[in-house]
Symmetry: C2
Subunit: 616 residues, 2 copies
Amino acid sequence: MSKHSDPKDAPPISNGLADNIGNVRHTLAHLLAAAVKKHYPKAKPSIGPAIDDGFYYDFEFPKGEAPSTQDLPKLEKTMREMLRAWTGFDREEVSARSASAYFKGNPYKLELIKDLQKAGTKITFYTCPPASYKKSLKGTSSDAHSFTDLCRGGHAENPSRDIAPDSFKLDRIAGAYWRGDEKNKMLTRIYGLAFASKEELQTFLEAREEAEKRDHRKLGTVLGIFTFDDDVGPGLPLWLPNGAAMIDELEKLAKEMEDKSGYLRVRTPHIAKESLYTTSGHLPYYKDSMYPPMKCEGVNYYLKAMNCPHHHKIFAARPKSWRDMPVRLAEYGTCYRYEKSGELFGLMRVRSMQMNDAHIYCSEEQFADEFRKVTELYLSYFKIFGIQKYVMRLSRHAPENLGKKYINEPKLWLKTEEMVRRCLTELNVPFTEAEDEAAFYGPKIDVEIWSAIGREFTLATNQVDFAVPARFGLVYTDKDGKQKTPLCIHRAPLSTHERLIGFLIEHFAGAFPLWLAPVQAKIIPISEKQASYAKEIFTQLRDAAIRVELDDSNDTLGKRIRNAKLEKVPYTLVVGDAEIKSKTATLESRSKGKIGALSVEEIINKLKQEISSRAL
Amino acid sequence: MSKHSDPKDAPPISNGLADNIGNVRHTLAHLLAAAVKKHYPKAKPSIGPAIDDGFYYDFEFPKGEAPSTQDLPKLEKTMREMLRAWTGFDREEVSARSASAYFKGNPYKLELIKDLQKAGTKITFYTCPPASYKKSLKGTSSDAHSFTDLCRGGHAENPSRDIAPDSFKLDRIAGAYWRGDEKNKMLTRIYGLAFASKEELQTFLEAREEAEKRDHRKLGTVLGIFTFDDDVGPGLPLWLPNGAAMIDELEKLAKEMEDKSGYLRVRTPHIAKESLYTTSGHLPYYKDSMYPPMKCEGVNYYLKAMNCPHHHKIFAARPKSWRDMPVRLAEYGTCYRYEKSGELFGLMRVRSMQMNDAHIYCSEEQFADEFRKVTELYLSYFKIFGIQKYVMRLSRHAPENLGKKYINEPKLWLKTEEMVRRCLTELNVPFTEAEDEAAFYGPKIDVEIWSAIGREFTLATNQVDFAVPARFGLVYTDKDGKQKTPLCIHRAPLSTHERLIGFLIEHFAGAFPLWLAPVQAKIIPISEKQASYAKEIFTQLRDAAIRVELDDSNDTLGKRIRNAKLEKVPYTLVVGDAEIKSKTATLESRSKGKIGALSVEEIINKLKQEISSRAL
């Protein structure tokens, strides 16, 4: 998931962030409110926090009087004028009563004051520019050049000195419910961007523009990768032929890698009886994220939200001995999770997800080796996709919560955590640690990756599981004839098709490497005269299992070549009379330009070689 | 589905089949009842029809007095004794009143008599052997050597002449609810087998024994192909690694064949909103076969019972022109159908099915060509699987039902039916025709195939669809700039994985051709001394994408070789010291016996070549 600022996490009362840029952003929120009050004296301010890339402030405007995007430059100009003369805030402690009197008629501030009073928190007012305009609290807010706000503090010490006037910019206007609750009144939110310098602001704007160009929702549609349909349902992507071709390639990759690593593939249905999720222990915790049950002949069936319980049943289906261990069961299993409508986001937050799942059942002795192999698999995938920046996060248990939040196996916790740590260190994988954030059944590893344009994505979660195999009564017969319960590693290095393809669209800006490109080659005859030769080449490439299209439409040659570029097709094969004569096609590469006239056999060999190498 | 006799289709009153063997079987049902009445005078007979391979008769016995399998020879002996002296039935027309008086105390016969009376049907009694024992209707049934039954007739003319005493055999005893309704009393059903001659009976028994050996439920478990689990649910197979390997191969085959034929692959979710099935028109007709809906935020979601509506949405997602047509969308889509518990049968009747589905959208002009290509695809598959006997059944409309049972497009019906007929004739495909059995939206083709042991299976249904594309508003822009609605061909030549693999297990008796075999090769070191060499060969084969297992267990060499045979592994590679020295392995084929010592490279090449040719 993108870590873009999420306004719902903002506190109800503006409070400065600990770092300096946080204070700057918070200061600018006050300044924005002062400017708004100057131009719109009837506006009722509510809250205005600093956020990841700047700040915002929410106002209630009288009906029909709210500003629009066109008004932002005017407000920005006023902010800069005020900033020039502004050397600091005036701070004043006030009683709840005088605070309420001051904000009479503003239901938002009155609600906040009431909350502060209830919590026994000191109430403070901060007033901003210019100091000469400072008014007594007894006065009314008729002086539009001064703005007094209810605030906890956390500001730039000297705004005119600390804030460069070209390091911020008002960005956009949006609607936002008071306190994020759709039952409340819709307010007008004005967003601003703010950074430490003009250069940083510029860099951010350029990166954002690039990210917008690469937006997987936009590119995914243009490139015919996926679509959504109202009659199918929100969060349930339909994969168009180009998307399905990518999925096939990803599954082929996974199969190749897993076959070599001794995984066994399985297939399980998408539903199961309620009792399966009672046994697994998922039901009480997970019910809200699952689609509601289907009741048939008195039995509740659920759509699966995870594949593990089905895999545990497959492990249990035939007796196992130490000779069979480790057992690695893999399946691209589609799971269903009922994410809230408001949280759905393109391919990044969906309700149906095809997961690169596997469960590795192993003995304690085998654990370190298996975990190392899983980590190496990740690294291989990073290499294949050209992912250069990544970090793993090891979530550990907390000893004081053993037997409560965590299964009471103190030695096993320490041992596996140390094994994981050692493995990550030995493989030179960058990682961080977080105490008291593990799953109840074992330590957890979250994998974060960065796209080519520097956006962060959470790719996958690996989990070590001490507890659930025992709940399912899973055992293998050890060398000593005794029945032992295996550990289980849950892993999904390629995440879900949905999230991975969403990431890859942005990462490659749709210009996928040849092996992954939905259309690998396009054949363009110069005119109708070469139609039958073009068709012949088309069939040759298709029979060689190259994904090829023939563009013999009426568009001009130039337009057809431009279309191929727009569709980011890796290779075009242009054929004219010369090519017919020499039994060739003129090959042009998306990235390297014109290559020249080659025989069809040479072209097929070249492309096949590039495909099988999975070159970037 | 196997076309084994389905008792639920038997008429409530025994009536003879039209053909001679039917009359014989029906006659034997009477004879069985006479023999039962001789040994168990308190038995209350109910019904006794002829069925596909013989006959049965259902009785109520007093508690604890029902016969068991051990009693069958005794009954059979009595039947043969009676048969000897039995030259014909006595037939008598009776009133409902005297019929009821005669069967006083037998609630089954009384119920049947009431039904006949209600329907205004003539009531007839048939009395059987020997004629000398014939009793007046006024008497009681104290004479156990005669048996009078309520019957419509349809018997052998002269049983002692027409029925060979060694051409029938009592088979087994089972419980059966009166009139097949589980709310009714459970009766005792005695099954008999009957054929035209002793030889035919013998052939049937041998074929049945072979079929039992090949039973996909038994072999499927032994070979680790699939399993069912109570917590997952009935009719929901879990595919074990060996089954999943076969599925992967079948999908690879389908992909190869379809890629070459210009299909485009898509992927769709397993659920959709109710509105999708309202649009498609499935909901009112199909609701009972679907899992009940999941209600989320006021919207009903259904598990899909068919893939077509999702595919229609994909067709509609992007504008189409005549240049795009035909559009062939393929997906191995898993569908869910709620078959009744009692009708579930191994892999043959299941609730989750992975379907080799595709929908071909084409113009009327393209239809004949597309249909021919689909039929050719079938023929290619038959060849690959060694299916030698098959027949297609063309279900046509009936003109008088146009606009009622069938969409009112008289010309399109005749045209497509004729196109289908011509195509089947030209391709020399054996086919039959059936009037008034089409789907409402177009003619339908059912494909029947026979396994290597001569059992019949319905593999798949192809349908031509004139109606549903219009319901979804599907259009393409034709050359003349007008928007036209395409026809749609629904096709699934490889049926579902479930049904096809069930068939293939029986067809090959588990000895699958190399390309399809879950385990293609097994490496067996003679002793522990060769363990590391064996492991080395194992890795070489695995890296060459051959599904290989290493059996280095403690079992004797003989036992390990026998196990490989039992598991029907196509090739074993035995390695001893001689093989290490010569860097070879001794290859043995499942079907052709010992091949000899070959280098690992030679073995890999040989196997890869056989795999890619998909030789039988």
